[in-house]
Every structure is written in structure tokens, then in C-alpha cells.
């Protein structure tokens, strides 16, 4: 008799097991599919392609300079190429979901801490040949875009930089620089290939995950957008401004302190957020983005469209950053009011994205059951 209860239990177990995988019909095209398709094909893939291309230019400029280390013009060209590559990376750095995270690629590209003494040691104390394979064997603090920056810029000016490559261990130093640039070029190519349709085709996976749960593309992307806006607020501006140190500025904490490109790179990070939000591709054509999803849902902020409110805020933030006319490290003390104002506007943008945008998107940012919280 009680056998039947067991059948019940069994059937119930099967129902539970099966009900967890309802795959939506991929043929239905909705606003969200349109947005993911546009973001994937016209924003993300081109961003990584641009990063890959600029890293090739960087490697080229590095070998040009290596052939003529005393030539300051070539060094300047190399420095410009570095800023181009770093900017291209920041413009793509929002899109770490997929290949970059699955294969732990970002640590080799732009790791947050750089070990300067470690780099010096790697240059001077190694008996092995310095090439790409050697760079591969090194930890994340010794390579990538920040390591290259350290090797290209000096507070004492370009003469000091050139001195490093022409003095003792100059040959090893230039070999290290070249190998770093080559390694970065490889990493960038790998990421781009993994995303592209004729390569790893992650873009297809990205478009197919069109649900609204925490593991959907939109779910992950919106979480990353919130993380990045916090990073800009707290790490790029807040910490240097002294938000953690009782208002005492910490110029050492700015991003890219050697090249003094902090503001340029921060604007590139904001650009990646804006591109994801508006669906604007690198060449400026405006496709389907999160703004269109919000508009279709009738999302408003007061009397105006929420999407307009957020786009306007991006413009306000950019305008505030443009008012800082010196490198951020200097501006922290000489234009403190302007930096502070920029911080406040970024905070406003953060609230709009984390609260208003998410509220109207209805994406689920946790994984458990809910019945309306």
C-alpha cells in the first residue's frame, strides 16, 4: 500500500528535476533579444577587435622603439600607442563575462596591483631569455597594461626612460618591454577570437542567454555595470580624493599614475557603460540598448523618460570630468572642488543605474525563490 506513496515521491522528484530547465523558444524575437544581438555584434565584439588592433600597434611601436632606443620620437609614439591600447581596453573592460572570466584572462591584461620591484628583478636577475614564453610564466603583477605603463613613463621625464633602455641591463629591459607588448597582443587576440562568430562564437551564447535571471546575459551585464560604476566612484575618484583617509588626497591611488592618463581611462570606462546602456557602437551608430528596453517598458523618472534622465547624467558626468583641466593626480589638490563635484555626479549616476534602472528592468539579482521580497 505504501508503495504508492513511494511512487508519488518518485514522480515528485522527477517533476522537480525537470521543471528547473525550461528553455525559452529562441525563435521569438523580443526587444531584449534585439538588444543582446546589437550589444554582442555591434558593441562588444568591435570593442574587443579595437583592443586587439591597438595592441598590435603597441607591439609594433615597441619593436620600432627597440630598434632605436635613443630616439625620443619613437618613444613618444610608443607612449601614445600605450594610451590608445589602455583606452581601448577600458572601453571593453565592462564586458568581462564569458571568455575573459571563464579563462581568467583579465589578470594578464590589466591587474589592479603592479609589483615594480618584481619587474626590476625579472629584468635584471633572470638568466633565461626574455620572450613571450617567459612572460607567460610570470604572475599577473608583473605584466599587462600597467606593467608596460611603468616601463614607458617616468616622473623624471623621457630622458630617464631612455636612460633605462640605454644603460645597464638595457638589452634585457627592452626585451622585457617587447615581450610584454607581444604577450598583451596575444591576449587581446585571444579574447577577440573567443567572442567572434568565426572564432569561439561566444557572442552566440551571449545572445542566447536572453532570460531575466541572475545568470542571463542581461542579469550578468547589469551586475557588471553596477560594479563598474562603483569602481569609478570609489576606486578611480573616491579613494584618491581621500574618501577613505579623512579627506587627505592620495595621488598615488589614481589609476595609471605614471602616464597621467587617469581621466582619459576613466572616461573610457564611462564610455563602455554608456555604450552598453545606449547600444551605441564604436562608430557612433545608435542601436538597441538597455535604454530601448526601459522605453518600451514605459520607465519614467518623474515626468521624463528614465532613459533620458540616465543619458543626461552621463553627459553631466563627462562635463564635470572635462572641468578638471590637469591630470587627476594633480587635480586632487589643485582642483579639489572640481574633482569633488565629479564624484557627486558619479554617485548620482550610480543611484540611477543601481536603483532606477534595475527596478524597471525587473532582472533578478539573486538566485533564491521570492514571492515579492
Amino acid at each position: 500500500m505504501f508503495k504508492k506513496i513511494f511512487y508519488f515521491l518518485f514522480a515528485a522528484a522527477i517533476i522537480v528535476a525537470c521543471s528547473s530547465k525550461d528553455s525559452p523558444d529562441p525563435s521569438s524575437t523580443s526587444d531584449r533579444v534585439a538588444m543582446l544581438t546589437n550589444l554582442g555584434n555591434n558593441v562588444i565584439v568591435p570593442s574587443f577587435e579595437a583592443f586587439s588592433t591597438s595592441s598590435q600597434s603597441l607591439a609594433k611601436a615597441a619593436s620600432d622603439y627597440a630598434a632605436d632606443t635613443k630616439n625620443e620620437t619613437k618613444l613618444t609614439a610608443l607612449q601614445t600607442a600605450w594610451i590608445g591600447t589602455a583606452t581601448a581596453w577600458k572601453t571593453a573592460s565592462l564586458f568581462t563575462q564569458g571568455p575573459i572570466e571563464n579563462d581568467f584572462l583579465s589578470s594578464g591584461i590589466y591587474f589592479t596591483t603592479t609589483n615594480y620591484t618584481g619587474i626590476e628583478k625579472a629584468i635584471t636577475q633572470t638568466a633565461t631569455t626574455i620572450d613571450n614564453a617567459y612572460i607567460e610564466s610570470l604572475g599577473a603583477t608583473l605584466k599587462g597594461i600597467p606593467a608596460i605603463e611603468y616601463m614607458l613613463f617616468s616622473a623624471s621625464g623621457n630622458t630617464a626612460v631612455i636612460g633605462g633602455y640605454t644603460g645597464a641591463n638595457g638589452a634585457q629591459r627592452i626585451a622585457y618591454l617587447k615581450a610584454l607588448a607581444l604577450n598583451l597582443q596575444n591576449q587581446a587576440a585571444t579574447v577577440a577570437t573567443k567572442w567572434k562568430a568565426d572564432g569561439g562564437n561566444y557572442v552566440k551564447t551571449f545572445i542566447a542567454a536572453d532570460g531575466n535571471d541572475i545568470n542571463s546575459s542581461l542579469g550578468i551585464l547589469s551586475n557588471k555595470m553596477i560594479d563598474l560604476i562603483y569602481t569609478i566612484k570609489d576606486e578611480r575618484i573616491g579613494a584618491p580624493l581621500g574618501k577613505r583617509t579623512n579627506g587627505t588626497p592620495q595621488p598615488d591611488l589614481v589609476d595609471a599614475k605614471f602616464s597621467k592618463a587617469s581621466l582619459t581611462l576613466m572616461k573610457a570606462e564611462l564610455q563602455s557603460l554608456e555604450n552598453a546602456f545606449t547600444g551605441k557602437s564604436l562608430n557612433g551608430s545608435d542601436g538597441s540598448g538597455i535604454d530601448d528596453i526601459l522605453d518600451a517598458a514605459g520607465a519614467k523618472s518623474g515626468d521624463v523618460l528614465l532613459s533620458k534622465r540616465i543619458k543626461d547624467q552621463f553627459a553631466v558626468v563627462k562635463a564635470k570630468l572635462d572641468l578638471i583641466t590637469v591630470p587627476l593626480g594633480t587635480g586632487l589638490t589643485t582642483q579639489q572642488a572640481a574633482v569633488s563635484a565629479a564624484y557627486d555626479e558619479v554617485k548620482r549616476l550610480q543611484v540611477m543605474m543601481e536603483v532606477d534602472m534595475i527596478n524597471n528592468l525587473g532582472v533578478l539579482l539573486t538566485f533564491s525563490d521570492n514571492d515579492g521580497d
Binding site: F2, V16, D25, D31, R32, E354, T366, N370, D371
Partner: protein
């Protein structure tokens, strides 16, 4: 009056004990599946082992989680108890133990509060007092006195009322501006499901959101009544099944739809329960022919049930005492059948000032809380206060010293523009939780 008299007379009549057995088996199986699923998904670790901080309920701060691995054992015990309940073995012990253990778990952390867990606790409490093992139970083989052919009819009504309450008060809670005139939060949630097969494109339509909002309102308010009348029962039940299946596929609400679909079966007549059980297990021969003396032994249960339901009638309305928008201040929000009523999001940071040194810094709760805790804490004022106190204690313990802690919290409800939720000038370490109105919550501005 005649209706009341009729009801009382009816309540004093006897019904077959199969209805209670049927409900016991349904409840046991539902909870078995629910607990196995909980363990399967790794939630025991995620919700009760990983967190460093727990948001206990006001007045229940003494309820603490057990250290690893004992929380897992607690859940294994719940699985075992749900099976004992299903089989009706040592029923009285099993149901009391289940009620206590289940309620213990639910009291551990507000972040995972769900209305249907509350319903499970309430049903289990009622079931502690009812002879649900009168038939179709293993107890009937062991303990002869457990055999019951008939039970007073009101016992079935106790269960029906508790099931009906969820619908009715769920409906009452929907009588609000957002739900009726903005179709929120359904508009947001349905749009989020635009990739749903076949009907996906319909779900972005405003009229669909409005129709479903109003339909759900009338559905909730009327369900218990239509289920009670013989002529409408079967149709209402069909609607219930369709409605809950739809919510199951559209929203991530776990076991809730299944609980409602199966527990609502108690509204069907005892004859049907008997037929189903007969079909499944054959005629139950373990019944005593003795009929218990009318009500005598059940007066206490009856009295308790009466008080219980008086309490149930008041609880959902307590939020009205605070005025304002309950979705905003959330005072009296829980334990009130506020089901699927809001999409709420917030951004929460704490401004900490060390009194000794004057040092100031900003803290995001994400650093200390699990993802689900951080999310729930971000928009629920009592949790925001609790975490401020936890931080205060943390800084005392870690040697940072005494601190002032203020919350910068912007929240948005149901698509409305974000606003400050907590007065950012109030030092939360000086505020205490209580049932008194929380003056440091800002007023709802729309």
C-alpha cells in the same frame, strides 16, 4: 443568524477522518519535496552556513544558527519528519517536532523570509492540534487509540480557513494604487518575461498587465468563497491550477504555486478525499467503529483555533497603524500576506565616523553579507538598522572603537523614481528597533 446557526450546527457534525489524512499526506509530501529541493540547491550552506551575520527577527534575537555541519542535520531532520508526517508514523511527535524545527529555521534570518514559509509554520501549528493520523496512517497499526472513523466537521474548516486566508488577505493587500492603477509591479515583471514562449510578446503590452492585475485581485478575493460552494468549486479549482501554473512559469517563486494548488484540495468534500485515498491505498480497514464523544476532548483545540484566527485577522492590518506606504517603510510588511506586491531596489552605503579619531569612511554591506542578504538588507529599513548595529559592534570588537553610523540609502519601488529611504543625518547606532514608528525612515514622496 440562521446562517451562523447553520454553520455552528454543521461544525458540530461529523465527517470522515479521511479529509485530515488526505491533507496530512499532501502536506507531508509537499514539505518533503520542498526540503529536499532546498538541500539539493545547496541553500543550507548558502543561507545558514556561509553568512557571517544573521538578521534575526525582533524579539527572537536568541534564535541562532547551529555551527556547521549541524545546520545540514537540521534539514535532514526536516526531510525525515516530513516523511513521518506523510506516513502518519508517530504523528503527534513528528508534527510538533516539524513545527518547532521548521519555525526555528525560518526565524534565523529575515533575508530569506517568504510568505509561504510562514504559511507552512501556521499550518503545521494547527496540525499539531488536530488528529490528522485518524486513518491512513502507520500509527493505526501501532496505537489502536489513534484510529478515528469520524472527526468533528469544524476541523476541516480550520484547515480551509487557513488556506483561504492566504488568498483573501493576498487580495486585500492588492487594493493599492500601484497595483490597480499602474499595474505595478506586474508591468515590470511581465515585460521582463518578454522571451516567454508563445505569449512573450503579449506580456509587454500594458493592457495585459492591467487585465492580469485586476484579474489576480478578484481571483484572490473570491477564491476562498468560490471554493466553499459546491456549484462553483470545481471551476474555481481549475482557475487556481491555471493561475498558479502561470505564476510558476513566469516568476521564480519556488514551491509557492505547488503549495497553493495542493493545499486548496482541502476544500473538496470528504467523499472525494476518501475516494482518492481508497483508490491509492485500498479501503482502510484499521478504523475503529467508535465515534468520539461530541467535541468533549476537542474544546481546547476549538478555543485555540478561535484565538488563532482572531490573531490572523488582525496581523495583516497592523501595517495600517503606521500610515504611509507600507511598501516604502515596510513596517508591518512581513506576516501580512503581501505577496508579489513590489519590485524594490536600493543602493545602500554606510557613512561611518570613528568617534575617537574623527576618521570617516564609507562601507558597502556587500563586503560583509552574502548576495541575497545584501540585496534584502539594502531596501528593508529594519534590516538597515540591524546591520548598522552589527557594524557598530564589529568596530567595537575589532578595536576600531565607538562609531557613529549613518545610512545613505536610495530606494525605488515599482518603477517610481528613486529617493532617499533613510534620513542620512540620523546616527543609527542611537536608534533602537521596536514596534514604534520608525521616524528615521523618510516619507514616501510620489
Amino acid at each position: 443568524m440562521s446562517l451562523v446557526n447553520k454553520t455552528i450546527r454543521k461544525g458540530k457534525e461529523f465527517a470522515g477522518s479521511e479529509s485530515l489524512a488526505f491533507f496530512r499526506i499532501v502536506f507531508g509530501l509537499l514539505l518533503f519535496v520542498s526540503e529536499v529541493r532546498f538541500i539539493w540547491k545547496g541553500w543550507v550552506t548558502d543561507f545558514y552556513v556561509t553568512p557571517q551575520f544573521f538578521f534575526s527577527f525582533y524579539g527572537f534575537e536568541w534564535v541562532r544558527p547551529l555551527p556547521d555541519p549541524y545546520m545540514h542535520w537540521v534539514f535532514y531532520a526536516l526531510v525525515a519528519l516530513s516523511l513521518l508526517i506523510t506516513f502518519g508514523l508517530f504523528y503527534r511527535f513528528s508534527i510538533i517536532a516539524f513545527f518547532l524545527v521548521f519555525t526555528y529555521v525560518e526565524l534565523l534570518d529575515k533575508s530569506v523570509y517568504l510568505n509561504h514559509y510562514y504559511q507552512v509554520s501556521l499550518l503545521a501549528l494547527l496540525m499539531c492540534l488536530l488528529p490528522m493520523n485518524g486513518s491512513y496512517s502507520l500509527d493505526n497499526y501501532i496505537i489502536k487509540s489513534s484510529r478515528l472513523d469520524k472527526i468533528p466537521y469544524w476541523m476541516i474548516w480550520v484547515l480551509r480557513v487557513q488556506v483561504g486566508i492566504v488568498y483573501f488577505f493576498g487580495g486585500i493587500a492588492k487594493l493599492r494604487y500601484d497595483w490597480l492603477f499602474e499595474a505595478q509591479p506586474l508591468r515590470i515583471w511581465l515585460s521582463a518575461n518578454q522571451n516567454f514562449p508563445v505569449i512573450g510578446s503579449l506580456l509587454t503590452e500594458t493592457w495585459v498587465a492591467f487585465s492580469l492585475s485586476w484579474f489576480a485581485l478578484f481571483f484572490d478575493l473570491s477564491a476562498p468563497f468560490f471554493l466553499s460552494f459546491k456549484r462553483t468549486r470545481i471551476y474555481m479549482y481549475a482557475v487556481i491550477v491555471i493561475f498558479h501554473l502561470l505564476t510558476h512559469f513566469l516568476f521564480y517563486i519556488g514551491m509557492f504555486p505547488w503549495m497553493m494548488i495542493f493545499t486548496a484540495l482541502i476544500f473538496f468534500p470528504a467523499k472525494l478525499h476518501q475516494k482518492v485515498l481508497d483508490f491509492l491505498f485500498g479501503r482502510w480497514k484499521q478504523l475503529s467503529i467508535a465515534i468520539p464523544a461530541p467535541n468533549v476532548s476537542y474544546y481546547k483545540t476549538l478555543a485555540f483555533s478561535f484565538l488563532f484566527f482572531c490573531f490572523q485577522l488582525i496581523m495583516p492590518f497592523r501595517s495600517r497603524l503606521y500610515g504611509g506606504n507600507v511598501l516604502w517603510h515596510e513596517q508591518g510588511f512581513r506576516f501580512s500576506w503581501n505577496i508579489m506586491l513590489m519590485e524594490k531596489n536600493a543602493s545602500l552605503e554606510y557613512e561611518v565616523k570613528v568617534k575617537g579619531t574623527g576618521k570617516q569612511f564609507t562601507v558597502r554591506p556587500n563586503k560583509y553579507l552574502t548576495r541575497i542578504q545584501a540585496r534584502q538588507c539594502s531596501f528593508q529599513p529594519d534590516m538597515i538598522l540591524q546591520f548598522a548595529h552589527m557594524l557598530h559592534q564589529y568596530y567595537l570588537d575589532s578595536g576600531v572603537g565607538d562609531t557613529e553610523i549613518r545610512a545613505v540609502c536610495y530606494a525605488s519601488v515599482n518603477g517610481h523614481e528613486s529617493n532617499l529611504l533613510i534620513n542620512p543625518d540620523v546616527d543609527l547606532t542611537k536608534e533602537k528597533d521596536s514596534f514604534a514608528p520608525k521616524t528615521w525612515i523618510t516619507d514616501w514622496k510620489q
